[in-house]
Amino acid sequence: MNFVVPDFYPAAAEIFVAIMALVVMLASTFARGVRWLAYALTQFTLIAAAFVTIYTLKGDVSYTFSNLFIGDLLGDLLKLLIYFSMAIALLYGRGYLADRNIDKPEYYVLALLMTLGMMVMVTANHMLPLYIGLEMMSLGLYAMVAFDRDSARSTEAGMKYFVLGALASGLLLYGMSMIYGATGSLEFSGIANAVYHQAANKTVLLFGIVFLMAGISFKLGVVPFHMWVPDVYQGAPSAVTLIIATAPKLAAFAMAVRLLIWGLFDVAEQWQSMLMFVAVLSIILGNLAAIAQTNLKRMLAYSGISHMGFMLLGLLSGVVEGDRHYALNAYSSAMFYAVSYVIMSLASFGMIILLSRAGFEADSIDDFKGLNKRSPWFAAMMMFVMFSMAGIPFFIGFFAKLSVLQAVVAAGYLWIAIIAVVMSVIGAFYYLRVVKVMYFDPPVDPAPIHAPAELRVLLSANGLAIAALGLAPQALMSVCAYALLASL
C-alpha cells in the first residue's frame, strides 16, 4: 500500500470553493459588522470558480483521488451552469433577504457549501462521493429552507424537507449497497463492467435500481416522490425556493446520468421502464394539480414536477430494443431540457422576488393582477417566461419540449408523446391564466415596482435570454450534445 499523492489539478475548482467557504465563514465571524462581506465574497468565489473551471478545462476525461473523481466536459459544463445559476439566484435573493432581515453571513456559507456539494455530485465517479455530495447539498438546503426561523411556514417546510429527504437518502443508500452487493463495485465503471459481463446477480441489481430510482426521483421531485415539492417551495423563503428550483435540479440530473448511464447503461431497458412510469405520472399529475393552485409558488412547484417528468422523457428514450443509435441525442435533449428549465425557473421565481417587498410575499397569482399597468416591461418578461414554460414557439421552452418529444417519438413511444402533448395543452391553460391576469385584470395594488437596479437589469436579461435562446437554440444544444459526447 503505497501512498500516492493525488492529482489535485482536475479538482482545483472544488478545492477552491471548499477553502473559500471556510474563508467566508471566518471572515464573516471576525468582521461581523461588514454586512456585505459574506455576499461579496460568495459572489467572488462563484465567479472565480468559474474561471478556475474554465482554466482547468480539458477535452479528455481525467480521473483522480483513486478514481473517486472524474473530470470531464460534462462535469465542467454542469459546474459552470451551477455557479452561474447560484450566482444569479443569490443576486436575485439578496434584497429579499435583507428586507426580512435574514441576510446573515451563514446563509452565504451554506450556499457555498451547498454549491460544493453539487460540484462533488457532478464530478463523482463513485457512489461514495456522489452520496457525500448529495448530502452536503441537501443538508445545506434543509437549513436554508428553515432559515427564516420566525416563520412557522419556513420552519415546517425545513422540517418536512429534512425528514422526507433523510428517508429518501436512506433509500438511495440502500440501493447503492444493493448495487454494490450485486456488482462488487462502487465505482461507476466497475459497476458497468460487472453489468456488461453479466456478472451481477440480476435480482439484487434490480432491487438496487429500484431504490436508486426512488432516491433520484425524490431529488428530482417527481411522482411518486414529489410530495415535498409544493410544500417546500411554498414554505421556503422565495429566495431559497429560487435556489431549490434551479441548481439542484442540474445536480440531480448529473446524479441520474452518472448512476444510470455511466453505471447501468447495459440494463437501460430495466430502468427506462421505471422512468417511463415516473415520467408519465409526473407529467400528468404535475399539470393537473397545477390548475387548481392559487399560489404561484405552489403552481410553479407542480409545474416543476411536470417539467422534470418531461426531462426524464429524454433519459428514457435512449435505448430501444438494444438499439443505442439514438442514445446520445436523447440524453442531450434531456440535458438541454434541464438547462432550459433552470433558466426559466430563475426568471419565474425572480419575478416573485421582484414583486415582493418587506412584509409582503407576492406569491399569489392575484398579486400579478394588472402587472401590465404597473410595469409593462416586466409584464412582458413574465409573459416570456410563462409562454416559454408552456412550450410556445420561439421561446426556449418550446425547443426543450420539441427535442425531448422528438427523442420519444424516435424511440417509438407514440403513446407517451401523445400524453405529453395533451398534458402540455392543459399546462398551457394555467400558464396563460397568469398572462391573462397580468394583462386583463385591474391591479390590486397600483404602486409601481421598487427593486434594486441590479435585480431589474439581470431579470430583464434573463427574460430576454429566454426569448433569444428560443430564436437561436442551436448553440446551447450543441454544447450539451458535445459535452455528453466528449464525456461518454
Binding site: M1, V163, L164, L167, A168, L171, Y174, G181, G184, N201, K202, T203, V204, L206, F207, I209, V210, F211, M213, A214, F218, P224, F225, M227, W228, D231, M274, L288, A289, A290, I291, A292, N329, S332, I392, P393, F394, F398, L402, L405, Q406, V409, A410, L414, A417, I418, V421, S424, V425, I426, A428, F429, K436, Y439, F440, A472, P473, Q474, M477, A481
Partner: protein, 955 residues
C-alpha cells in the same frame, strides 16, 4: 433572398410599429401599409420564377441537432396563398386607418397586425414541418392579441382566450402530428415528406398522425365541433375579422389540409374524418347563420359553413375536388373580406351591428349597400359572380362522387340544403340591413364613410365580378399554377367556364336559389329569438364545461392525492418504495432461498429474546413513559454488547458498553427538557384512529420485515473478497499492534480518526454554544415536583459531604474516581494490543466525571473542579496532530506511525510508537468533548435555581 425578405419585412415593420408614440396614427398606417404593400409587390414579382422553376427555396441553418433548418419553400400554391395574405393585408391596413378611432392605441394594433401577417406568411412559406407548426402557434398568439385588442371589454377578453385555447391546443396537436410525420418520413423537410406519401399512409402510426394533424387543421379553421370560438372572436375590431376570419387565419387549416393532401389523403380514414367534419360544418354553420342578430355573427357562421365546404371538398379524395377547394379558398377570401368591411362600415357609421335595429340604410349609404349586395350575391352563389363558379364545381363533385349509394344521394342533397341556407342568410343580411323602412333610433346618423375606407371593399367586389365573368382569363393561370404544385402530374382537366350546359349542378344551384328565397320569406314571419332545433348545440357551453371540469377535477384530485401532513407523505413514500420493490420480486425469483440459520445456542437465543423485548418495550413506552423507555433501550444496548462479546469481539463489546452508558446519561439529562407530553390519554379511541393505527402498523411490519429479510438474504450469501483479511494479516507487521480495531483506528485509518475527533470537538463546542442560548418550554422551567416538595436549600459549597442519605453514594463515587482514572489509563495504554484504546478510556473517565456531577451536585463539584473541558479538547487535537506531523521528521507522509522497540532498565521491554501519542490525543479529546456536552446539559437544571444564563463548563 427575396423569400427571406417576404418573411422579415412584416416582422421588422411590427417591431418599428411597436415603438412608435401612441398618437402617430397616420405614420403607423403609412408604415404598416408600406410594409404590407412591399411584401405584396415582392410576392407578386416572384410569379415569373415560380412559373419557370416550380419551387423556390431558401434556407438558413438553425437547429441542425433537431434536424431543423429555417427553410422557406414557395411553390405555386404557396405563392397564391402568400399573395392572398399580403394583398389582403394591404387592403385591410388601408381600411383600418379609417376604422380605428383616435382614442385607440394604434401602435399595438399595427404591430400585432404585421406580426400576424409575418406569422401567416411563415406558415404558408415554411419548407419544414416543425417550422410550420411554430409559425402556426405564432398566428394563434398574434390573433389572441388582436382579438383582445379592446381589452377593456369582457367579450373581447373571453373571445380571445377561447380562440387562443382552441387554436393553440390544436397547434400542439399539430406539432405532435408533425413530429410523427417527420419520424416516418425520416426528415421534417416538406419536400421529403411530400415524396413519402405512400410510406406514410402505409405506416402503423398513420392514423395517429392523421388524427393529430387534422385536429390542428379543424381547430384553426373553426370546423365542427370546434367551430364555437369563431363567433366569439367577432369581438375583435372589424379589420381584424376581415383579415383573420375571412382570408387568412381560418384559412390556415384548409391550407394545411391541401398542403399535406398528397401525403395524407386517399384513405378511408381521411374521407370519413375530414369529409364528415366538412359536411357537418357546411350544413350546421349555414343553418346557424340564419338566426344571428349580429351582422358579424352571420358572417362568422357563414365562414364556418364555407370553410366546411372547402374541407368537404378536400375530404373527397378526388383531385378535381381539390381544384375546386383551392378555387373556393380564393373566392371566399374576396367576398367575405368585403362583407366584413361592409359590416364594419355600418357599425362605424351607425354605432350598431344589431340586425333587428338596422334597416333601410340603402338611402343613407348607397355605395356601401351596392358593394355589400354584390358581395353577398357572390356568397349566395348567384351566377356571374365568383362564388357561383366554385359552388358549381362543388355541386358537380357531390354529384359525381364515386361512393356507395346512400352517400351519393345524401351528399348532393345536403349540399343543396346548405346552398339554400346560404341564399337565405345572404338575403337576410342584405335585406334586413339596407332595405325596408329607414331605422330611427340608431346611435349615430348614418352616412357614407370616407372614400378611402370604401376603396378596399370596392376593389374586392370588382375582383368578384371580374373573376365571376372571365374566370379563365383572370384567375385561370394562377389556379393552374397552384393546383399543379400540389397535384403535379396528376392534375386533372377542368374548365373554368360560366356555362357548362344545362346539367344537374346547375339545377341544384337554381333549386338552392329558389329554396333560399322561400326560406327567407318563411323566416320573416318568425318572431322568436332562439335557434330552432339546434338550440342546445352550444360549443361555448361545452368549452366552459371542460374548463370548469378541469378545475374542479384538479381540485378533487388534489383532495384525494395530496396531503400536506408529514405523516401521510412519509407513509406514501414508504408504500411506494414497498410497491416498487415488489416489482423485481415478481419479475424473477431465482436464487432466493432463505438459508436456514440453524439452531442457536439457547443462552444466546434467550439473550436476544431479552434484547428484543427491551426494544419493543422502548418503542411501546416511548410515548407514555420516557424514563422507562430509556431504561429499556439501555437493556437493548446491553444485549447488543453481549452479542459482540459472544462472537469474540471484546473490543467492540467494550466500546459498545461505554458508549451505551454515556448515551443513556446524555438522554437522561435531556429528558428533563423535553416538552411535557400530552396526558390526555383518552380511553375511547375512535375507530378510524384504530384503523389507521392498524394500517400503519401493518405497513411498518411489512416494510421492516421486508428490509430485514432482504438484509438476511444478502448477509447469508457467500461474501465477496473483502478488505478485512488485509487488516487482519497486516495489523502486526505494518501497524505494530495486535488489536486490529485499534490499529485500524489509529494507524491505517488515522486520517479518518483525526477528522472524526475534530468533528467531535466541534460538535461539543456547538452543543455548548447552543445550550447557552437554550430557551426551554415555559412549563419545564419550573422546579420538578420532587424539588418543590423537599424545598432543598441552596447547595453548600463548603460542606464536605451533602447532608442526608446522599452522603453514602457521594463517598462511594469519590472513591470511584481514582480507580476509574486508573482503569481508563490502563485501557489507553494497552489499547494497541488488547481491547481498549483512547476512545474507550476517554469514555470511562468521562463517565466518572459525570457521576460526580450527578451525585455531588453541579455546584459542589464545580466549586472544586480543576477540569477544563475545552482545554482537553484543544490539547487532544494538538496531540493527535503532533503525532501525525511527527512522521515528517522522518520524511514520511503525514500520520505514518513510527515505532521504537527496545528495553529500558527497570521497566523491561518497551514498545513506544507515535501511535500512542495519537491515541492520547483521542483520549483527551473524548474526555473533553463528552464532559463538555454533558456538563452543558447538566447546567440547565441550575436555571430553575438562578434564573440566569447558565454558566456551563469553564469559561
Amino acid at each position: 433572398m427575396s423569400l427571406l425578405a417576404i418573411i422579415l419585412l412584416p416582422f421588422l415593420g411590427s417591431l418599428c410599429a411597436a415603438f412608435m408614440p401612441a398618437n402617430a396614427r397616420n405614420v403607423e398606417a403609412w408604415l404598416a401599409g408600406t410594409a404590407a404593400l412591399a411584401t405584396t409587390v415582392l410576392v407578386a414579382s416572384l410569379y415569373g420564377d415560380i412559373q419557370a422553376e416550380g419551387v423556390l427555396r431558401a434556407s438558413v441553418p438553425w437547429a441542425p441537432s433537431l434536424g431543423l433548418e429555417f427553410s422557406l419553400r414557395m411553390d405555386g400554391f404557396a405563392w397564391v396563398f402568400a399573395l392572398l395574405v399580403a394583398a389582403m393585408g394591404t387592403l385591410v391596413v388601408l381600411y383600418a386607418r379609417y376604422y380605428m378611432s383616435p382614442e385607440d392605441p394604434v401602435p399595438r394594433f399595427f404591430s400585432f397586425f404585421l406580426a400576424f401577417m409575418g406569422a401567416m406568411l411563415g406558415v404558408v412559406l415554411s419548407g419544414n414541418l416543425i417550422q410550420l407548426a411554430m409559425f402556426w402557434e405564432l398566428t394563434s398568439l398574434a390573433s389572441f392579441m388582436l382579438i383582445a385588442y379592446w381589452n377593456h371589454r369582457v367579450d373581447a377578453r373571453r373571445g380571445a382566450r377561447m380562440a387562443l385555447t382552441v387554436t393553440a391546443t390544436g397547434g400542439l396537436a399539430l406539432l405532435a402530428g408533425m413530429l410523427i410525420l417527420g419520424h416516418i418520413a425520416g426528415s421534417y423537410d416538406l419536400d421529403v415528406v411530400l415524396q413519402a406519401g405512400d410510406t406514410i399512409r402505409a405506416h402503423a402510426w398513420y392514423p395517429a398522425a392523421l388524427a393529430l394533424v387534422v385536429l390542428g387543421a379543424l381547430t384553426k379553421s373553426a370546423q365542427f365541433p370546434f367551430h364555437f370560438w369563431l363567433p366569439h372572436a367577432m369581438a375583435a375590431p372589424t379589420p381584424v375579422s376581415a383579415y383573420l376570419h375571412s382570408a387568412t387565419m381560418v384559412k390556415a387549416g384548409v391550407f394545411l389540409l391541401a398542403r399535406l393532401w398528397p401525403v395524407l389523403a386517399g384513405t378511408e380514414a381521411w374521407f370519413w374524418i375530414v369529409g364528415s367534419a366538412g359536411l357537418l360544418s357546411l350544413v350546421v354553420g349555414a343553418y346557424l347563420a340564419l338566426f344571428q342578430r349580429d351582422m358579424k355573427g352571420v358572417l362568422a357562421y357563414s365562414t364556418i359553413s364555407h370553410l366546411g365546404l372547402i374541407t368537404l371538398l378536400l375530404g373527397m379524395n378526388s383531385p378535381l375536388a381539390l381544384v375546386a377547394a383551392v378555387f373556393h379558398i380564393i373566392n371566399h377570401a374576396t367576398f367575405k373580406a368585403s362583407l366584413f368591411m361592409a359590416a364594419g362600415i355600418v357599425d362605424h357609421e351607425t354605432g350598431t351591428r344589431d340586425m333587428t335595429r338596422l334597416s333601410g340604410l340603402y338611402r343613407a349609404m348607397p355605395i356601401t349597400a351596392t358593394l355589400a349586395l354584390v358581395a353577398a350575391a357572390s356568397m349566395a352563389g348567384v351566377p356571374l359572380l365568383n362564388g357561383f363558379l366554385s359552388k358549381e364545381m362543388f355541386f358537380a363533385e357531390t354529384v359525381f362522387i364515386d361512393r356507395p349509394d346512400f352517400q351519393r344521394l345524401g351528399l348532393p342533397m345536403a349540399a343543396t340544403l346548405a346552398g339554400m341556407f346560404s341564399v337565405a342568410y345572404s338575403l337576410r343580411f342584405i335585406h334586413c340591413v339596407f332595405f325596408g323602412r329607414p331605422a330611427r333610433d340608431l346611435p349615430r346618423a348614418p352616412h357614407e364613410p370616407p372614400g378611402w375606407m370604401l376603396a378596399p371593399s370596392a376593389l374586392l367586389v370588382f375582383a368578384c365580378l371580374l373573376v365571376g365573368m372571365f374566370p379563365a382569363h383572370t384567375i385561370g393561370p394562377f389556379l393552374a399554377v397552384a393546383t399543379q404544385s400540389i397535384l403535379g402530374a396528376s392534375t386533372p382537366e377542368y374548365s373554368l367556364a360560366i356555362w357548362h350546359g344545362f346539367n344537374l349542378p346547375l339545377m341544384m344551384s337554381l333549386a338552392a336559389l329558389a329554396g333560399g328565397i322561400v326560406l327567407y320569406q318563411l323566416l320573416l314571419r318568425r318572431r322568436a329569438d332562439t335557434v330552432p332545433l339546434l338550440e342546445r348545440l352550444d360549443g361555448k357551453r361545452a368549452f366552459d364545461f371542460v374548463q370548469t371540469a378541469l378545475s374542479t377535477g384538479s381540485e378533487r384530485l388534489l383532495r384525494i392525492l395530496v396531503s400536506r401532513r408529514l405523516q401521510v407523505q412519509l407513509l406514501l413514500i414508504v408504500v411506494f418504495a414497498l410497491a416498487a420493490v415488489l416489482l423485481p420480486l415478481t419479475a424473477d425469483r431465482a436464487g432466493w432461498t432463505l438459508a436456514s440459520p440453524g439452531l442457536p445456542d439457547p443462552a444466546f437465543a434467550l439473550l436476544w429474546l431479552v434484547g428484543g423485548a427491551c426494544a419493543l418495550g422502548t418503542a411501546y413506552k416511548a410515548k407514555r413513559h420516557r424514563l422507562a423507555a430509556l431504561v429499556l433501550s439501555g437493556g437493548t444496548g446491553l444485549a447488543t454488547c453481549l452479542t459482540f462479546a459472544w462472537f469474540s469481539a471484546p473490543d467492540l463489546a467494550l466500546t459498545q458498553l461505554t458508549v451505551e452508558v454515556v448515551t443513556v446519561v446524555l438522554l437522561l439529562l435531556g429528558l428533563r427538557w423535553l416538552p411535557r407530553r400530552n396526558d390526555a390519554s383518552a380511553p375511547d379511541i375512535p375507530t378510524s384512529t384504530r384503523l389507521r393505527r392498524w394500517r400503519d402498523r401493518s405497513i411498518a411490519l411489512l416494510a421492516g420485515g421486508g428490509l430485514g429479510s432482504l438484509a438476511y438474504i444478502v448477509l447469508t450469501r457467500p461474501a465477496g473478497e473483502g478488505i478485512s483479511p488485509f487488516f487482519l494479516e497486516q495489523a502486526l507487521p505494518l501497524g505494530g499492534g495486535l488489536n486490529v480495531v485499534n490499529v485500524i483506528l489509529v494507524d491505517f485509518r488515522g486520517f479518518d480518526t483525526l477528522g472524526e475527533i475534530t468533528v467531535l470537538g466541534i460538535v461539543a463546542l456547538t452543543v455548548y454554544a447552543l445550550l447557552r442560548r437554550f430557551r426551554p418550554a415555559p412549563e419545564s422551567m419550573e422546579l420538578t415536583q420532587q424539588q418543590q416538595e423537599h424545598s432543598a436549600p441552596p447547595p453548600d459549597t463548603d460542606a464536605v459531604l451533602p447532608p442526608g442519605p446522599m452522603a453514602v453514594p457521594a463517598v462511594l463515587v469519590r472513591l470511584l474516581m481514582p480507580l476509574a482514572l486508573l482503569v481508563s489509563l490502563y485501557f489507553l495504554l494497552r489499547g494497541h494490543n488488547a481491547p481498549g484504546g483512547g476512545f474507550v478510556g476517554g469514555l470511562v473517565l468521562a463517565t466518572t466525571v459525570i457521576l460526580q456531577y450527578i451525585v455531588g451536585g453541579t455546584v459542589w463539584v464545580e466549586s472544586r473542579s480543576r477540569l477544563h473541558p475545552p482545554h482537553w479538547i484543544a490539547l487532544g487535537l494538538l496531540a493527535a496532530a503532533a503525532a501525525g506531523c511527527g512522521a515528517w521528521l522522518a520524511s514520511l507522509p503525514f500520520l505514518t506511525s513510527l515505532a521504537w522497540h527496545g528495553s529500558l532498565p527497570l521497566v523491561g521491554e518497551l514498545h513506544i510508537s507515535t501511535v500512542l501519542l495519537f491515541d492520547i490525543g483521542v483520549y483527551m479529546l473524548v474526555v473533553g468533548a463528552t464532559v463538555l456536552m454533558l456538563v452543558a446539559l447538566a447546567h440547565q437544571s441550575l436555571r430553575a435555581h438562578h434564573r440566569k444564563p447558565a454558566r456551563a463548563g469553564e469559561e
